[in-house]
């Protein structure tokens, strides 16, 4: 129902350096606005031969980032995710971002990358930099909260995982900073995203209209929260 604003020039932090080696993606293109940002994806990192490695590492970082922000275990967000050689000594290249037939993480990665690439890259870098911190989740959370751009995009990402819906970071900022905030606006990302929402799994239940349980389960107490979200 909403016509969301796409990347705005203001969402790129001053002094942020773009990855110019990644196939022609430049700051000028971001500043050119939404249409150019969309175009940039199609010629961006994902297409060049050298980028398969980057893409793999970015996805590992995205899973680490998402788990830290949402509080939901990596292996739940991304089934078959394997941090290698060990959970406390993660090598981005060796680690397996996981594969599952639903694979909503790829849809989410592409969704954010298309809309807020520059800020997204900063968030991924935080996850890469903090991957072996003693408290990885807290280290990532501390970093994303340092600037408004990263903080609000991080919140958008959490809401995406929880609700399968997109609340644009600029809109989230307006909701808390404007004196007379507008009604909350969002769009459902896809039917798949809706059915993969975590909010009601955190509540030891299931997205409304998508139960994987059997007749009568509601008359018994649910399994422990950790069974649902791994934490």
């Amino acid at each position: 129902m909403t016509d969301l604003p796409h990347s705005k020039p203001s969402s790129v932090a001053p002094g942020e350096k773009e990855d110019e080696s990644a196939g022609g993606f430049t700051r000028r293109r971001v500043l050119a606005g939404a249409a150019a940002a969309t175009a940039a994806i199609s010629v961006g990192a994902v297409d060049s031969p050298a980028s398969a490695q980057t893409r793999h590492q970015d996805m590992v970082a995205f899973v680490l980032l998402s788990a830290a922000l949402t509080g939901i275990a990596e292996g739940k967000l991304a089934p078959n995710f394997h941090p290698l050689p060990s959970p406390t000594n993660i090598d981005l290249e060796q680690s397996d971002p996981g594969s599952d037939p639903v694979d909503v993480k790829q849809e989410y990665f592409d969704w954010v990358n298309k809309r807020h690439q520059a800020t997204f890259r900063r968030l991924l870098q935080f996850a890469k930099d903090s991957r072996n911190a003693s408290d990885r989740a807290q280290a990532i959370i501390d970093k994303v909260q340092a600037t408004p751009d990263t903080k609000y995009l991080a919140r958008s990402i959490v809401l995406m995982w929880y609700l399968g819906a997109w609340y644009d970071p600029d809109h989230l900022r307006a909701l808390v900073e404007r004196p007379n905030p507008p009604p909350a606006k969002f769009e459902v990302i896809s039917p798949k995203a809706y059915t993969q929402g975590w909010a009601l799994r955190v509540a030891q239940a299931h997205p409304m209209g998508f139960s994987e349980m059997q007749f009568g389960y509601w008359s018994r107490p649910p399994s422990a929260r950790t069974d649902f979200i791994g934490n």
Binding site: L69, P191, V202, A203, M208, G209, S211, F215, I229
Partner: protein, 625 residues
Amino acid sequence: MAAESCIECDVAIVGAGFAGALIANELGKARKKVVVLEAGDRVPPNINDYMKRFYMATAKVPESPYTPEVFDGAGNLSDPSKVNAGRPTVLSLLPKGSFGDWTDPKKSYLIQKGPRPFASTYDRVAGGTSHWLGTCLRFVPADFKMKTNYPSVPQFVDWPIGYDDLNPWYGKAEEELGVSADVEEQKYLGIQFPANHKYPMPKIPSSLVDLAVADALKSLSADETKFLEMETPPTQIRVRNLPAARNSQPYRNRRACAGNTNCIPICPIQAKYDPTITLNDATSTGFVRILDRTVASGIVVGENGRVSQVNFIQYAGPRANGCVKAKIYVIAANAIETPRLLLMSKHPDPNVKGVANSSDMVGRDLMDHPYYVAWGLTATPVYPYRGPLITSGIGDLCDGPFRNKRGAFRVDIGNEGWNFVIGGDPNVTTLDFVNGMNRSKVNVGQEALFGKKLVETLNDKFTHQFRVGFLVEQTPDVENRVTLSSQFRDGLGLPRPEISYNLSDYTRQGIVAAYRMKNLLFRKMGVKEPPVEIGKDEPTRFEELIDDKVVALSYGGAGHVMGTCRMGSKKDNSVVNSFQQSWDHDNLYLVGSSTFPTGATANPTLTLAALSLRTADKILREDLK
């Protein structure tokens, strides 16, 4: 229109919802040629498109899966003047001047004249209002004899039939819809069953929320419940599992409920009955033909006072006019669209406004069950968002001596937490705690959380969410009525329904009693209410003096659209007889909850289904023998 171009059949039915589908199927099984005119889209080959529309909807309101589209391409509410077969939506019940201004005919299909909004909605699509919950309560015997039992309330009348007349038809309707319930548990307030009667399936198990309420009721004292003015001791106020047209085991090729917590707007596995099931049976007889996107535009009455044809407009392709001729005509639209069609139709006598309306009662006594809801957080987790939306309620409060003074109510216990009461959870509460807001009123510190703290907080809030609802009896009031708008039309150029609606003092006092019952229940359960204020501009808001304090209350719609073509025992003050046959036109039947003389507190579906089967039997036995 030339008579020879009309489609011919034994019975023409307008409307492919609950009543129309059941009657079409009975007639089809008896090898009668039936044509059903359906204003909306056809029965889809599967429900995938409905599910997709539901998943993608930002506002998962009851109407969201179905057509026509609630929103236009620009994200505004579809302009009803451009829609061929329009319908109301709960999104157009919002304050004046807002996105869904209830008084704005560009947003609201119903032209709402007030003074209060009529808050219920319905669908116009093959299958009718499939966004029902599935509750299949019988009326209690007293519901049929309101004038006799409660003579001090001037609006009440008796039905021309009683519980005993409907008892066998209730049983047949329960078979057809596939009801899960326990006979012994359903024997209360005089409800009786034939010997050895069994529901088709065992009852749906209670949820943990139900059990928490049942526990709290155990300690009710006579003193605490004095305000209810019951004859019976408070120990008889108990939680009972609701009979539901929802499979508790595989039934008629449909699977058992998997607890998707989504009965409204749509069961994703069709474990809940909806009329597309009966429509498919009906067309399988080979005698029933459904014309979709075919809107009845006029009932034609011949010289002899009998209906001679029904005219329609088809809009599937280029707009085309047509007509159907039959021996018997059945109008099964609903309690708003049926009187609309009758009033749009021309009577040969210019002194009679519309068809079947010599009593001037068509459109009058529109009723609903004004729905009062309350919510809070329980002391210990009750684990909502699990199981069918509602599995139990308190029915024992729906009859008693208090009915001389105020409306009765039935309590339903929500298994869906705060989902609809705060405008769409889990989204609202999740957004609050992620983005440091407080629209749920439970994030007072406006914390913005990540990670483990977010998980722990949301788990705590969600698992304690509790919601209770009260369906309040509404008096039939002649000025609560459906008329035709002289100004506003739909996409086919037909006049839209204009609604005048208010709550009588008797009905408002029923809501006041519900409010007191809520306070008692919350105290017993240790439920803490968030500090919710009803906005001064809320159209359903009203104030009452309760225990020397002014309390703001509000109501919603139950989706139980009743009255407007009421049955009675006399031609001069009712529209149809007990067989739902028009007093004015022998071969015309008006079926559905529009014929209810009084509305009771049970949802109307099972009773309208029973009445429909009784009417089908009458048509076969007497009219088409």
